[in-house]
Symmetry: C2
Subunit: 784 residues, 2 copies
């Protein structure tokens, strides 16, 4: 079963329309929550008056900051840096609003329609202040004396703060010495990645109820990191973690933003406790585009020292990250990952990068599929193309010369990534390039491009190479249980954001027990069913939960063998398992797993030699990540008249160590490419000068549809299994996204015949039209 193109067991429910998403959770007597949001990007709260709203029949409560003043700001789940603490988001704004969409009040009513009407009756008086919107500008006072004094008037103690929340540098070697050696050529690259984000099909939503009979707060909806959310919700509500149950529902996409703990989530749970009613909140799309984490929004400045052979001797980089108005649960994760993953597949002897996390009066930002790598890969791969052009080498050649060699693996880069020491565990970067070139026919593509270009078409071919990371630890666990009728259940700490983790875990267990994978029930995302789970993020579950499930299933099989051996009076060595039956080799004798479970049923048997029940736990612990890698390549065509760009082919070669289910890997890649294309060509959150968001509907925020996304061609290889886990698996969740912008930009440069022309995404028809109708020379002059 491992490696099989098995059908997704999740789909039996989803395809019949029987999935349960947050909005499907209905509770008798539920109240609907509606958030009143700031219409002003930056301003002083003069007054909030809910009187009119409360007059509506069926409106239960209107809360402002005063009603939840005891709640702390929302903390960091990942990468907590001390200096970021003052920038955490309060659950409701107190004296100052800092982005359009910031929650300032909240209404509870008997229907969602009524709640929405009531929210519009809440009277807000907010005195506008100038909005700070440019993260590239010099940092400004984020809290100045006047603001501090205003806040003090509202009982709030706001220390003076700078709009640069954090700045930090990592690296190794001696970059300054290298550059001052005078040897080699210096190349620079300036690269911008627009502000965009995951926009899952399903907006956020949560339903919470305090079950007084159970003494538990039950929270349905938040997928991704239910165990962390459980702990945070418990702390916010003054409960011990075991008094909170978080149960993820089905999700219409995760991608990073969804499932994190937001102000709305806290409000839902606190209201459930305090109003003693089930509270339901379902985000609408307009809210989603203003309230849910944005991402990307980086500006990189790279400077490389390259010797005559094209070998990069030093890389000196800095970037700004448009954090928006607050630092949310991800802390410094995006900045940190951007920095540590910037060198990618290349050796680079001396490396230094400085991250600037800067606040603006926009929606706060967090992670989005391939956080930091999408941005860093775009910047770095643009730089490599620039170097190639500058040295007169092919783009491929420069990459090959700088690759970490297969013989150098495992390759240690003396920096940290997500708190782990960075060691590229395995890989043959050049081999993957070879295989991709052959499979996709790069030389044929180049010929076709030449031919069509000669015929006057603006076509181009380009690519980007990347390294991903996956399998962050430290631990994940699973339990396999067989009931007396032979039913197999896997209970684990994993979560699902729709990626197919149930199927993959079922396959792993099916392999060990030799049962059909689609008879296995997988229980995950239930904090009352398993004690620990870190969550579905950072492409970690195939590695972590997969290995835990393997260990659990193996332990269970061993236990079944011991019991069967005793019952059948044979040795364990004589046994094998086939079709869920433990058989004596070369005999008719055998016991099904259900029968063995019966032998371990403490209500049936008296003298058990084992712990009761045919069940076993398995854990997998690690303190290193694993590093899959890949190549994206694109063939594009630009319409000279309109600047319209068509992606004619998009190709991904990806080495995942071991593909537990190639169909799922390919699906992950295809979906990832679609999202990468959004950021490369269409999606960007724009703001008016006063901070008013211009993209709050899908008429303004453009996501690619099936008309824009080409069939994604994939080559999944298994040339570099990870030595760090028993499955050899790396991860497949993000590699479809990572190098899309890089590859598209490279191809567009090629189509334009203007190397280095594309230094920003999204690449709009306007940009292309402008580039097509200016002189190439002039542009290159400004670049180098």
């Amino acid at each position: 079963m491992i490696g099989a193109r098995a059908l997704r067991i999740e789909d039996r429910v989803l395809l019949r329309g029987a999935g349960r998403f947050a909005a499907d959770t209905q509770r008798a007597g539920e109240l609907h929550m509606r958030v009143v949001r700031s219409p002003i990007a930056h301003g002083r709260i003069v007054s909030i008056d809910g009187t009119e709203a409360l007059r509506l029949d069926g409106v239960t409560a209107v809360w402002t900051y005063a009603d939840i003043a005891d709640l702390p700001a929302i903390g960091f789940r990942l990468t907590p840096r001390e200096e970021l603490l003052p920038y955490r988001q309060p659950v409701l704004a107190r004296s100052i609003v800092r982005y359009v969409g910031e929650p300032v009040a909240v209404v509870f009513a008997e229907s969602s329609y009524l709640a929405e009407d009531a929210a519009e009756l809440v009277d807000l008086e907010i005195e506008p202040l100038p909005a700070h919107l440019d993260p590239d500008a010099e940092p400004v006072d984020w809290v100045d004396a006047e603001q501090a004094s205003w806040a003090a008037g509202h009982g709030e103690n706001l220390p003076a703060q700078d709009s640069e929340a954090s700045v930090f540098t990592i690296g190794y070697g001696d970059v300054d010495a290298a550059f001052s050696s005078g040897e080699g050529r210096v190349f620079t690259m300036d690269a911008r990645i627009g502000r965009h984000t995951g926009v899952p099909m399903e907006c956020r939503g949560l339903v919470a109820v305090y079950d007084e009979a159970e003494g538990q707060l039950i929270v349905d909806g938040a997928a991704k990191v239910p165990f962390w959310n459980r702990e945070a919700i418990a702390a916010m509500n003054g409960l011990t973690p075991s008094r909170v149950v978080v149960r993820e529902t089905h999700v219409g996409g995760g991608f990073g933003p969804r499932g994190e703990l937001y102000p709305e989530d806290v409000l839902v749970t606190v209201a459930a406790m305090r109003l003693r009613a089930p509270i339901k909140w379902i985000e609408d799309r307009q809210e989603h585009l203003m309230a849910t984490n944005h991402s990307r929004g980086q500006h990189h400045r790279l400077r490389a020292l390259v010797d005559d052979d094209g070998y990069i001797r030093a890389l000196d980089a800095s970037f700004t990250l448009d954090q928006g108005a607050y630092v949310r649960t991800h802390g410094a994760t995006v900045a940190s990952l951007t920095a540590s993953m910037l060198p990618g597949p290349y050796v680079i002897d001396n490396f230094r990068v400085t991250a600037h996390v800067r606040l603006t009066h926009k929606t706060p930002a967090g992670t989005y599929r391939s956080p930091g790598r999408y941005e860093g890969t775009f910047a770095r791969e643009r730089l490599i193309d620039t170097i190639a052009h500058g040295l007169g080498l092919s783009r491929e050649e420069v990459r090959r010369r700088n690759f970490i060699g297969r013989e150098q693996m495992p390759y240690e880069r003396p920096i940290e990534a997500m708190g782990t020491h960075m060691v590229h565990d395995s890989g043959d970067y050049a081999l993957l390039f070879d295989k991709a070139a052959e499979r996709f026919g790069f030389s044929t593509i180049r010929e076709i491009v030449s031919r069509r270009r000669a015929a006057g078409e603006r076509v181009g071919f380009g690519f980007g190479y990347f390294v991903e990371k996956s399998g962050i630890g430290p631990s994940e666990g699973a339990r396999v249980v067989i009931d007396d009728a032979g039913g197999v259940t896997v209970i684990c700490g994993a979560s699902s954001v729709g990626q197919g983790v149930d199927t993959v875990l079922a396959q792993v267990v099916a392999e060990v027990l030799d049962v059909p994978h689609d008879t296995i029930r997988v229980v995950r995302g239930r904090t009352d069913q398993f004690q620990y789970g870190r969550g579905a993020f950072a492409t970690r579950l195939a590695v972590m939960a997969g290995s835990a499930a393997l260990n659990a299933a193996t332990a269970l099989r061993d236990k079944a063998f011991r019991v069967a051996a005793a019952e059948l009076a044979v040795s364990v060595e004589q046994l094998r398992i086939r079709g869920g039956v433990v058989e004596v080799e070369g005999s008719e004798q055998g016991l099904s797993l259900g029968q063995i479970a019966g032998l371990l049923d403490p209500l049936r048997a008296n003298d058990l030699k084992e712990e009761p029940g045919l069940s076993a736990d398995g854990w997998f612990h690690t303190d290193h990540m694993t590093y899959p890698y890949g190549l994206h390549a694109a063939l594009v065509r630009i319409d000279e008249a309109t600047g319209r760009l068509e992606v004619e082919r998009f190709m991904v070669a990806y080495d995942v160590g071991r593909a537990l289910n190639p169909t799922l890997v390919e699906g992950q890649i295809a979906g990832g490419v679609a999202q990468g294309l959004g950021g490369a060509l269409y999606e960007e959150f724009l703001y008016a000068p006063d901070g008013t968001p211009l993209c709050t509907t899908f008429m303004d925020y453009l996501i690619p549809t099936s008309a824009e996304v080409p069939d994604v061609e994939t080559l999944v290889t298994e040339d570099a299994p990870s030595p760090l886990n028993p499955l050899g698996v790396k991860g497949a969740g993000e590699g479809g996204t990572t190098a899309v912008a890089a590859a598209i930009a490279s191809a567009v440069d090629d189509a334009l015949q203007q190397p280095g022309a594309i230094d920003a995404v999204p690449i709009t028809p306007g940009t292309l039209h402008r580039l097509l109708h200016q002189t190439t020379t002039q542009h290159l002059t400004t670049k180098e």
Copy 2:
């Protein structure tokens, strides 16, 4: 904490009205089920027509047998005897109805009101047949040729059956030889116990939904034996057990009848699967009194051979049990327990008892608090009083002469009880008598009775001695879990029928971990939270779950000590636990349980030396029961004019081995006495000659109220801890009921000054009036 009068942790919720009973479970879109019941005790189903009912707007379905023809009859949970199989109850009647109240059809509608209206529109044509109502009459054909032919016409294969479903004999020694020896005197006793039952304050109810998203059938409501019900419901619905979740709600009383699997429970779950809607069924009181298990209803005939010293040399007994129309989940449990527990605390060298399980056209019967012992104790203790009178010995003296002596313990009686070999594990029956006499002042009572009797009052004092059984195995398990904030959770296979099991388990764990018992959360009755549990019946949980919790908590403490020792670099021997903190003896050093849990948190720590999590499982296995024992004594007064009886004092001395919580033990005793008084004085299901039940409301079926129940005086002793479990505990659930009828009858005899006059319960004012106004001599003549 063990032995403390700790407050019930259950009550925090219940006293605030925040309990969740079956009817409190509300599910969006639920359909309400109403059962159409036979108004005829015995008859042929000619036709059932739901057309009119289905015409009502909001009525979803009307089912008759044809709609659930694939379902088997409901099986036996306990004491399955092969010969009983043909007498199992079908889920809906097919061709013949056998009691008034038998489900013949079922209606599903959008409200309970509508469902009830619709049920009345279902047109039943049933051709009446004569009802067989007397279990003491000679057995009749239960299925005769004519019935078999009628059934065959409905496609039903009914073999010929007798109304005596089962007859079996157990015993030891040589009873016939003893009686034919010609030595000693023969005493006989004829004793009848009326048909009555538990009538909990809350009627039955169940809410089931097939959660397609989870792939599970969720069933809320059935307390008592959720794991067994889960397996049965799974089998009925063609699911593996892990696909069914049974969750007990709070219950307004259990007492035996409630929580068993009935036709209605099966219908609710099958409808949830087939109609794909939540199905709710709440029994009303009239239904309850016709549909839920009746109990008792026995007629004993005892014959004893007694030597001149009052020593019982042989007991030859037989009894009939009015089983009603079907044999339900209890199988032959009541008959079996009646037989095996009949000798009670007495040696009795030769013993034989024959049980006749006989069908009648009445509501089926099952267990009710102290099943078989209430009946058997009444019969046996009446016999002892008769012997005492016949030999001119005091009632106390005859008992003392026949007691199993303390020095004979453990005392093996070579018969089986509930499938276990019967060994009275410990006891000092005479000592308890001494202590009771002293505490309650028996000699003073006797003086007062003499004085008042001399003054013309009809007062009497009497008692009954009994042995109970408890702690049936084979196993029970518990898991103790500490969360990172130090919250303590006990998860176990136990169930609650309101007896306070949460409190007792919390006390046991609190004792080991030295934490306040009311900070502990107890999770039980949830088949998705623990893998096995046998249930709350037969007074088994203090012994079984209590010992399992003790073992789990001890294992957890040991684990905490190991981790703390390693962390603090001391030896385990230097550690102790105080207030939930593991402290180094004679130092300031210490780690709270929450901190130790943090050290075992696999998401925080990398190099665990133990299984992740501060949690531990504990099990307790046994293949013997334990035998508590007690004495009931009553002081009664009869109004000569009206026959009204007043229970002036009711006293219970009970040795429970060890009282985990004396307040709870006393509460169990008081409640048990109230129910015992009901059967002794008020409650009886009566039937008209055609089988129409005459007691279908509380106007006709009389349960004692607080006006009728005296303050129950209790003496709980711990003179005979059980050697069979680590707590030394026996059980307290049923001993308040066991000897009530015996003690009251003895006291009434004494008040009447007519030894042996009371040979049946309930003792009505009519009986007393009659006895008061007939000659004593005449009655005694008929007795011996």
